[in-house]
């Protein structure tokens, strides 16, 4: 199709590919400078507090420390971010902190560890203030005011209200009114490379040079010059390779100014890298919001008008909030034909981390709300949901009620094609149960001028000595191949092979100004600039050669990299020859989008050169027993103008769609008192490779007259319709509309259960009465009381950054090391939990005794009556053993569900059993009952307790999530423990005292696990449900049946992750033996597992899950 092009439309691997794949690419993390210091940041432990004083003196005296600074040391200037009207944040907190994790002080030291250790020596005196964490409460009149001065109502950062005529009338005329409220949480960008910076201030010249993975060096420079009070031309951003952006690296991330100030203070280069937890705590994620969408619809389905109210959680400070508001309001009435538009949006402060930006900027979620309603309209009117969408699709020449003038538009064609590719016509009337197909569409400006600076781009082209070209752009390639695409534009325009072109991005000295990478703007704006510059470059060559050759410039031809005049062989030069003749030279040019900005108050106006469209179709299946969703296929059909680089564009689509799957089904930050408790890549459940479905991509090319070679913007389009299409498919599969994202498996299970909820008979455990009464007292009395008391009397969990490591030669030496009185030693086997837990403050040790390689603890022996597994045998070594599989298939199969390959390769069986509890309050440093002692509360009672116990919880509700625990319990295993006085044997049944707490004493070491074998036929099954494949279980069941011929001789069933201990399901076992194995008998027996359960507020689903899983495990364990 693109035969007329040289490089446009061809798949071009990214320019930086070889450097990245060989590990040679230089990311910020990899940079060092001579004399460099390492910075670390002290963060507020309080969500809202006044800073009375900061004492840095002890920190300054710590080994290796060169400087320690706090907010009052910084210039008295605030970030300008969304404009001076919104400036509300200093580079470091001065008088007040407004969210947990806010930067309060920083040190620069010789090593990263010294810097970390010195933080603990800083004392901050806080006056704690009442805090508010949700928008609704923040808007109440007596909510604490997070910022003092404002003309707006309390805690409102911005209001955006508009009615472009006719909304009221539309609702008056409507035959049907649809009115629903939708809600979603905060999604984090999760760049694999955390934010970081290397700053180098030259005390002699006053120049500040920055290397930082920023999507917008332009912004960084502007902000840093401002908050450091330096002239703009003294601040220089340099090129680095960027490890992912997705909005997470837009604006100027806080570490940059802090490193800059430390460098100015010390006169030495300073590097700061955020760790993953800091990234969650302080890196700006997306915004949460609530949306009320009301649509007025005529009898024939025409949408007469829509009014949208939305409340956006801004977090503590205004960063991307106003841009977010503007992106959201612009998605309310532009997609599909809508008659009249109105909205009322509020941006509201809370004491949480400030909202930033994330791919799509709120569009995927507003589209989800609208597309849900479109489905519901079609249903009510008895229309086919695809045909209805085609009917109301935007068409070329339309003008939307928000002022967008639609140019090229293939939305209807996109929808039709998506329907064809998913097989809608054939499948719609023959959909098997629990399956569904959903559709959704998107519209995106290409490119919107949200910022005054956003409507232009500059590009430079350097002719180098060897005849190669270097294209310079200040935009930043975060991995999207935009550098490659820029090179393609220049190559195409000049008729060159793309591989003679290098691209330099980001560098503010070497490249001309450009706003940077955001809102999918680079291909379009910077691309147009690249083409324009290439044209100027061609003209420059002509004009230079014209004087050499003494011919008119306009008669000089430049094709295939050769300049020539007519057929004159003497007047023919390659680029290298031109460079030799003229010396290297540079050409710069600038492209402006020549359209008015939209009305800043309402966003009204035709403010983009053109608009991109697309449709997606999703086919998925729900497991009714667990609520888990399998996405089988996603079709995306995109009107993209012209495809410049299909390899890169497909990659953008696929990456965005998979992020959209995460947004739809799993991803959200879970907060407890303003602190994200799932600040890890285990508990924040980003999609992994097992989650990737088949993705079928098609492009409909419309050759947009405004775009570079007809291209429209691309980067965010992919994610925008995905959550909506998934939700609509789920509605078909389950018959339920979900109005909260993410739509978790637990929600699906609860909403769609075919069976009545299991009979829990809580009175069967008398202790439940006491627990239930305590829980009833929690909100008003116990929780506030214990928080206060615990704050005074409780132990504070302390993170350990330094400890000793010893490697004993044998078991005796290891036991002696543990017995030593002068230190707090702890046994480490794989260490996959212990080393992490020390940093989380959930373990306490100053010496780790590494026993992973001790011969006495390793290996597997198969005896006549038992299998003996050395305690330090790795999970992988066990799962790879065919002889074990033949005896106890559940052991190999079950253990292979633990974690990931890398972890199974070092984690040990005894280590799995001995790991600390996984309660996310405990793990995120909450001073809870288990961490702080008797005087502290259990946060699970009132907090998000979806992962906690439903059975047998007492003062602590953390479940036992070690998969080996139920498996080994069902196998009747014995743990052999070595101590100074010899060995003792603990049956698995008695192994645990509580979740994470075993009967192995601190000075003992598990030597082996013995698993009996009976030489009778057995059949076994382990079933587990977890957030992602390898995650910790939400429920698991291990079934071990022994047979006497066709007759069931014995049953051992153990339940995991539903109680603090692995629970033997003795009543179920007895029922199976007594009542047989008919389907109804199994179902009834499975129902007994939850007798005596007492769920918490968010985990009632676990009762249902456990019953279903038990039933499934028993059925799956039966011999053929």
């Amino acid at each position: 199709m693109n035969a007329e092009f040289r490089t446009i439309g061809k798949p071009r691997p990214q320019l930086e590919g070889p450097a990245k794949v060989s590990g040679r690419a230089q990311y910020t993390h990899d940079l060092t400078l001579p004399n460099m210091l390492h910075g670390a940041i002290l963060r507020s432990p309080h969500p809202h507090a006044r800073i009375r004083s900061v004492d840095l003196s002890r920190a300054r005296a710590m080994p290796g420390v060169v400087a320690a600074v706090c907010g009052t040391d910084f210039p008295d200037l605030k970030y300008v971010n969304a404009g001076p009207a919104f400036a509300d944040r200093f580079a470091m907190a001065r008088d007040k902190v407004r969210f947990t994790g806010e930067e309060v002080a920083a040190v620069a030291a010789q090593t990263p560890v010294q810097a970390q250790v010195a933080l603990a020596a800083i004392t901050v005196d806080y006056e704690i203030l009442p805090a508010v964490y949700d928008v609704e409460t923040a808007l109440t009149p007596d909510a604490p005011a997070i910022h003092e001065k404002s003309d707006l109502p309390r805690n409102v950062a911005q209001e955006s209200i508009a009615d472009f005529d006719g909304v009221e009338q539309a609702f008056g005329d409507a035959a049907h009114i649809f009115d629903a409220t939708f809600e979603h949480g905060i999604v984090a960008p999760i760049c694999l490379e955390t934010n970081g910076v290397l700053a180098d201030y030259d005390t002699e010249t006053g120049d500040l040079t920055l290397w930082a993975p920023s999507q917008a060096p332009f912004f960084v420079r502007k902000e840093i010059a401002h908050v450091m009070d330096l002239p703009l031309e003294k601040v220089h951003a340099k090129s680095v390779v960027i490890g992912g952006g997705f909005g997470g690296k837009s604006q100027s991330p806080e570490p940059i100014a802090i490193a800059a100030f430390l460098s100015i203070t010390t006169g030495r280069p300073v590097k700061i890298l955020l760790n993953r937890q800091e990234e969650f705590l302080s890196g700006k994620s997306d915004h949460a919001k609530k949306m009320r969408v009301r649509s007025a619809v005529a009898a024939d389905g025409t949408i007469l008008g829509r009014h949208t109210e939305f409340w956006v959680d801004n977090g503590a400070y205004t960063h991307m909030g106003p841009a977010y508001i503007s992106a959201v309001r612009q998605r309310t009435c532009n997609l599909y034909r809508v008659g009249a538009a109105g909205f009322d949006g509020k941006l509201v402060h809370t004491n949480k981390v400030s909202g930033g930006s994330y791919r799509g900027m709120g569009s995927p979620q507003i589209i989800w709300a609208i597309e849900t309603q479109i489905d519901e309209i079609a249903e009510r009117l008895g229309k086919d949901k695809l045909e209805y969408r085609i009917e109301i699709a935007n068409r070329p020449g339309d003008r939307t009620p928000q002022g967008w003038e639609i140019g090229t538009c293939a939305l209807a064609e996109c929808l039709e094609e998506a329907g064809r590719r998913i097989g809608w016509a054939e499948k719609k009337d023959a959909m098997p149960p629990n399956r569904g197909i959903g559709f959704a569409a998107m519209i995106n400006p290409s490119v919107g001028v949200l910022y005054a600076e956003g409507n232009f781009a500059c590009v430079s082209i350097d002719l180098l000595e060897d005849g190669r070209l270097k294209v310079g752009t200040q935009s930043a390639d975060c991995g999207t191949s935009q550098n490659t695409v820029m090179g393609q534009f220049v190559a195409e325009e000049l008729g060159l092979d793309a591989d003679v072109i290098d691209v330099l991005h980001m560098d503010t000295d070497e490249t001309p100004p450009d706003l940077g990478s955001a809102a999918s703007r680079v291909t379009f704006v910077s691309g147009n600039a690249a083409i324009k510059t290439a044209k100027s470059f061609r003209a420059e060559i002509a004009s230079r050669l014209a004087s050499h050759w003494d011919v008119p410039a306009d008669e000089i031809d430049f094709t295939d990299g050769i300049a020539s005049y007519k057929d004159d062989n003497a007047r023919r030069l390659t680029l290298a020859e031109i460079a030799a003749l003229e010396g290297p030279f540079r050409v710069e040019d600038r492209y402006d989008i020549d359209i008015p900005r939209p009305d800043p108050k309402t966003g009204y106006g035709h403010y983009a050169a053109t608009y991109g469209f697309g449709a997606q179709a999703v086919e998925l299946e729900v497991d009714p027993a667990t609520g888990q969703v399998t996405v089988h296929k996603i079709v995306v059909v995109q009107d993209i103008g012209r495809v410049i680089n299909p390899l890169a564009l497909e990659g953008q689509m696929q990456g965005g769609i998979v992020q959209g799957i995460g947004m739809a089904l799993r991803e959200e930050l879970v907060f407890n008192d303003g602190v994200p408790v799932n600040a890890s890549l285990i508990t924040y459940k980003a999609p992994r490779i097992q989650d990737t479905p088949e993705i079928d991509i098609a492009f409909i090319e419309t050759d947009d007259p405004t775009g570079p070679y007809g291209a429209k913007a691309g980067g965010e389009h992919s994610i925008n319709p995905t959550p909506a299409a998934i939700a609509n498919a789920l509605a078909q599969a389950t018959g339920t509309r979900f109005r909260k994202l993410p739509i978790k498996a637990s929600d699906i299970l609860q909403a769609t259960a075919v069976k009545p909820s299991p009979d829990l008979k809580p009175w069967k455990r008398p202790y439940n009465l006491e627990v239930a009464s305590a829980r009833a007292l929690y909100p008003a009395i116990l929780y506030p009381g214990l928080r206060k008391l615990g704050g005074k009397l409780g132990r504070k969990p302390a993170a350990k950054t330094e400890y000793d490591y010893i490697r004993p030669k044998n078991l005796q030496e290891a036991l002696r090391a543990l017995a030593a009185q002068d230190r707090k030693a702890k046994v480490m086997a794989g260490g996959t939990d212990l080393q992490v837990g020390l940093r989380q403050g959930v373990y306490d040790a100053d010496t780790l005794v590494d026993i992973a390689d001790l011969e006495e603890l390793r290996g597997i022996a198969i005896a006549a009556d038992k299998v003996i597994v050395g305690a330090a045998t790795t999970i992988a070594e066990i799962t790879e053993r065919d002889d074990i599989r033949a005896i106890h298939p559940m052991l190999t199969e079950g253990l292979s569900r633990i974690a990931t390959a890398q972890i199974r390769n070092v984690a040990t069986i005894a280590g799995d059993l001995s790991q600390e509890k996984r309660c996310w309050f405990f793990r995120s440093g909450a001073q809870c009952y288990k961490a702080g002692g008797m005087t502290c509360p259990c946060y699970a009672v009132l907090g998000d307790n979806r992962h906690h116990s439903i059975l047998g919880a007492g003062r602590c509700a953390a479940p036992c999530v070690a998969d080996a625990a139920p498996i080994l319990t069902a196998l009747d295993a014995v743990v052999v423990v070595a101590g100074a006085g010899g060995e003792r044997r603990i049956p698995m049944q008695d192994f645990y005292i509580w979740s994470g707490k075993t009967r192995v004493a601190e000075n003992e070491i598990i030597r082996a696990i013995e698993i009996p074998r009976d030489h009778v036929p057995v059949s076994q099954r382990f079933e587990k449900v977890a957030g992602w494949d390898g995650d910790f279980a939400d429920a698991s069941v291990a079934v071990n049946l022994s047979w006497d011929g066709p007759k069931l001789a014995a049953a051992r069933i153990s339940l995991g992750a539903v109680a603090p201990l692995p629970v033997r399901a003795t009543r179920t076992e007895a029922a199976l033996l007594a009542d047989g194995l008919s389907d109804t008998a199994i179902e009834a027996a499975a129902g007994l597992t939850v007798e005596g359960a007492l769920p918490l507020s968010d985990n009632a689903y676990k009762a249902r899950l456990l019953v279903n899983l038990t039933e499934r495990a028993i059925k799956n364990s039966l011999p053929e």
């Binding site: 060989s22 974690a899 990931t900 890398q902």
Partner: protein, 156 residues
């Protein structure tokens, strides 16, 4: 007590603190910065190296435990101008974007293909489940690996 190990075929002896993670030793002492750190907690796989033939998270292996062991990092494969055929395939097929996850993915893949030169799709996914990639959606990665397996590229 010094630790003796082999890194990319070269014998090494180090006096560095045996408690530090192998990843830090590789990056800071040996300046082998191809091994990335995305979390430091064994959650993302960016730090994956091959230790005695197995993929491990080098952020969770204490240096002391590498005594007598063989470590292979991304730097043991091709360099910029002489990529390993596996690496070349990943580039050509657009299997990664920002590339921060990529050295770890390559090392997971090497460990997998050494043990099982003809893995099916399920085995490939199992082996890479520990390597988080936020950019690519894994689609082109899976396609590229399919070709690597079919063409037997790791044996070259």
């Amino acid at each position: 007590m010094p630790t003796h190990l082999e890194v990319n075929g070269q014998a090494r002896e180090t006096e560095n603190d045996p408690a530090i993670p192998l990843a830090v030793y590789l990056r800071e002492e040996l300046e082998l910065r191809g091994t990335k750190i995305g979390c430091g907690n064994g959650e993302c796989g960016a730090c994956t190296v091959v230790m005695d033939g197995r993929a491990v998270c080098s952020c969770l292996v204490p240096l002391g435990r590498t005594e007598g062991r063989r470590i292979e990092t991304i730097e043991s494969l091709g360099d910029l101008n002489n990529l390993h055929p596996i690496q070349r395939k990943l580039v050509e097929r657009g299997a990664f974007q920002c590339g921060f996850c990529t050295p770890g993915i390559v090392m997971s893949l090497i460990a997998l293909l050494r043990r099982n030169p003809r893995p099916d799709d399920a085995k490939i996914r199992t082996a890479l489940q520990g390597n988080l990639c936020r950019c690519s959606g894994y689609v082109k990665l899976l396609e590229a690996i399919g070709e690597i397996v079919r063409e037997g590229l790791h044996e070259r």
